[in-house]
Point group: C2
């Protein structure tokens, strides 16, 4: 499926605020609201739009710590980890990566005790390295068609 100028105009606005109405977007890009709705529906069906997520403040909901944890899995322990990680509710993102480590995770935790407890759960799967997040410099930057040209 092609992503033309109008679809990009829609995507840029929806990345900015997923709750914008089709009517508002339509007014801005010169399309009727059924036309916007139809384009959005097609992008959803094609998998271009994967979902609409509300970002909440982890800090204000009781999670004082954020950490990036890498895992270098022990022999035969990667598969068990991949099955188990979905149950670890602290893990908000997890990637398989190339390099010395196999896994990198973004984790939210209530406090140091919770971090310690979480790291303990990982020791049977492999060797971990923990990096505490001090601040977020860029957060969910939207992408657009000209991402490469602009930077």
């Amino acid at each position: 499926m092609q992503t033309d100028e109008l679809n990009w105009a829609i995507l840029i606005r929806l990345q900015e605020n997923a709750r914008y109405s089709f009517a508002k977007i339509g007014r801005e890009i010169g399309l009727s609201s059924p036309a916007v709705a139809e384009r959005v529906k097609k992008m959803e069906d094609a998998g271009i739009i994967k979902g609409y997520k509300t970002q909440i403040s982890y800090h204000q909901t009781g999670y004082q710590l954020k950490a990036i944890i890498t895992l270098r899995a022990f022999m035969g322990r990667l598969k068990p980890f991949l099955e188990k990680v979905k149950e670890f509710k602290e893990v908000i993102n997890c990637y398989r990566i190339t390099g010395n480590e196999n896994i990198i995770m973004e984790v939210v935790l209530r406090n140091q005790a919770h971090l310690e407890e979480f790291i303990d759960k990982l020791i049977t799967y492999g060797e971990t390295k923990t990096h505490i997040v001090l601040s977020q410099v860029v957060a969910f930057a939207p992408i657009d068609k000209n991402t490469t040209k602009l930077s």
Copy 2:
């Protein structure tokens, strides 16, 4: 601000789909739609709700590669980097972290040539390590009140 059971019920649903209507949420949790709207407004004002983001498929919009890149900044080069990184459109997330590296970034790229070009832009700021993302095991897992109890 307190996050009571009803607010959690709202947050769980909005994390799942930011476009759910207040009316639908209200029906599910036994509240009128103005009541839901008012609670959401207060959570927005309090910063508990930080935004509503549409997730798009990087792959289907022309970004074939995702990478995690760490940066160990040269002396005096961290601050310039922090100012510049906001202009690097490839960077969708960037954290300052503790440990041997100062910075960890999540980056989307069109292809290997684009990755090479991007890494070249970083060499004046510090030493980088690049990990190509093979797959995403957990994506934007929503959190709830009982995150720690359940895992």
